[in-house]
């Protein structure tokens, strides 16, 4: 049969029918009153998800665009930046800062482990103050969550700016932009927001704005002063992806109707079920429970043929998993479990993963992983 694509990658995630339906509405002009009213409403609702009172912008770009927007607007060439790196996406954030001319000091932690807050504290006490810290909230390459609150507490009452990539966690986890003192908070549309790729989101604190005023703009598209001026009128400075904004309205309404706390709790349940299932299959998880992500789980495939396994799963069962990045290349599978996915799909995906492992000669006991995931779901009701 023509295979369904079951998206258990860490984005894009399945798009709910109401969101799909919204996206095919007839277009409206992006300088119309109706558009301004739509954008104002979207910004207000997205701020609830971000838990922020700061300014918030919706870019027509991928999340990487919003990362660049944060960096290029807040740093002058030669500015010192401390990049806290726990995996591939921490590396990318640092690379963007380098590209912008910043002097990047990388503080790296082993893949699979989170940022060690003690080491960051030591570094801040001992060395010269950086202009900014770059931090990945949810490191998608390892399924590790970093403690943004603690890093934020270190710099909140200092001139040091905090830039946080929450692309693969915002909407799925309790992220307190303002309480945690995040000056630039970034996410994208194709993860817990349940939309196709194409939109990115950035919030900017008052401390962030004070810095922006000292920076000579280098990007035209991502010039935040232009976005602020247009945003005050309810517009985007350049032509926005109107269809995705229609979809965003439906997606935010769905998230808020379920209740953000319920959404976060559900992602926690899904993650625990997946972790229990993978462990019972005999796979070793990359991240320990204490710092495990609620949206993506990486697991070692001990025979080292993870990419072959993924190809089998996609071809034979329509199950799409992500592969290992960088040093984990071909040795792990990464399973996204966020957004519009339910128990039936999660249990089904574990069941076909077992079939795929068995076909590869892996010593798996069919049903064992599913049973453990079922137990978790049953207990947590």
């Amino acid at each position: 049969m023509q295979r369904k694509q079951h998206l258990f990658i860490p984005g894009p995630t399945p798009v709910p029918p109401a969101v799909r339906a919204a996206m095919v509405r007839p277009l409206i002009g992006h300088r119309s009153c109706e558009f301004a009213s739509l954008q104002r409403s979207l910004v207000k609702k997205t701020k609830q998800v971000f838990q922020t009172e700061n300014d918030l912008f919706i870019f027509t770009s991928s999340g990487t665009g919003a990362l660049e927007a944060a960096v290029t607007n807040s740093l002058n060439p030669g500015d010192k930046v401390l990049a806290l790196i726990t995996g591939q996406f921490g590396q990318r954030f640092a690379a963007i800062a380098r590209q912008c001319g910043a002097e990047v000091e990388a503080l790296e932690f082993p893949w699979g482990k989170p940022v060690d807050v003690k080491k960051v504290t030591e570094r801040l006490v001992q060395g010269p103050q950086p202009k900014a810290i770059l931090l990945t909230h949810n490191e998608t390459s390892t399924g590790v969550v970093n403690d943004v609150a603690s890093i934020g507490a270190l710099v909140k009452n200092t001139p040091v700016l905090l830039l946080v990539d929450a692309i693969s966690s915002m909407g799925a986890m309790d992220i307190r932009t303002d309480d945690w003192g995040v000056d630039f908070m970034i996410t994208g549309s194709q993860k817990a927001f349940m939309l196709p790729p194409g939109l990115a989101f950035l919030s900017v604190s008052a401390k962030g704005w004070a810095q922006i005023e000292t920076v000579r703009p280098r990007s035209f598209y991502f010039n935040l002063e232009a976005w602020q001026q247009s945003g005050a009128q309810g517009f985007s400075p350049w032509t926005p992806n109107v269809s995705l904004l229609f979809g965003l309205e439906a997606a935010l309404d769905q998230l808020l109707a379920e209740g953000l706390e319920q959404v976060w709790a559900r992602h926690g349940r899904w993650a625990r079920a997946v972790r229990a299932g993978l462990t019972a299959m005999g796979l070793k998880l990359v991240a320990e429970d204490e710092w495990a992500s609620n949206t993506v789980t990486a697991a070692y495939v001990q025979n080292g043929r993870a990419d072959e396994l993924r190809a089998t799963l996609e071809r034979d069962f329509g199950l799409c998993l992500a592969g290992g990045k960088g040093e984990l290349s071909d040795s792990v599978i990464r399973m996204g479990h966020m957004g519009y996915v339910d128990e039936l799909e999660i249990l089904g995906s574990l069941a076909v993963l077992e079939l795929g492992l068995k076909r590869q000669g892996y010593p798996v006991h069919l049903g064992a992983g599913v049973a453990q995931a079922q137990k978790l779901i049953y207990q947590e009701g």
Copy 2:
């Protein structure tokens, strides 16, 4: 979360994306050349599925409409009809014939069992010849398949007409309309054809046409002579559901691209996996393997609270199962497994069914049913 609806009922079944996309194409006039070309192509392809060279009509109606079309065009009031009844849908077929004024002799078989061909043979040898036999190929209320080939062999070279309801099996099973001597073969769009409800299909043999000519038409909408006249021009006598016909084109193309034999084999594998899973959960199947349907499986829920279980499954997991009909009311669940469903969904549905049973206090061993279904799928590749 806003629950997905996982349709494991015996229709409607999930609609593939290509079919959905086809259905939103701009409408065309139903007296246009383009329409005539479309309808001719659809009739030709549907005949492949029916394995027939007979005339074939596509009604804008439910399957029940096509059952009535077959009956009302082939029987005069007072005509004697032998209705072979193995469940709820056999009863409905008989009721339609009675409503049309036929004199219906019901030959009933226990629910869960198929038509006993010996008893039909005896009846035909001993009693007066009926004008027609009514037979349900796939009795959806019990998940039993009847032996159309053997009944067909009894009447093929006699004046007795054979009317067959294949609403819940056509497209999913090897049904040989012409070889088996079926004069009126009926199906609907919302089962193995992977379409929404709204279309029905009827093929008519030369023997059927000879009889139609002797019958005074009673239905205007379903007057087959009108359908034949219009059909010869590539049209429908009355306004057809053009959007569903666009969808039918995409659905038939998908079935034929997979290959009908592969589609039938796949339905056999799904059915065996579901039956193995339900049995391993401790549920008793209504139909024995020998005459089990490839598209729907009925299973007793021994505590007799099948409808409560279904409500739980729908509310808590978005899994939609059908309930018991008639004498099986509230004592069975019926699971459809046809059309656009895959391994991941079938295994996932069994997994959440286990959770629902356990919540109801049923002594289920979580994962046991899934494991047996996985084994079947693994073995059958």
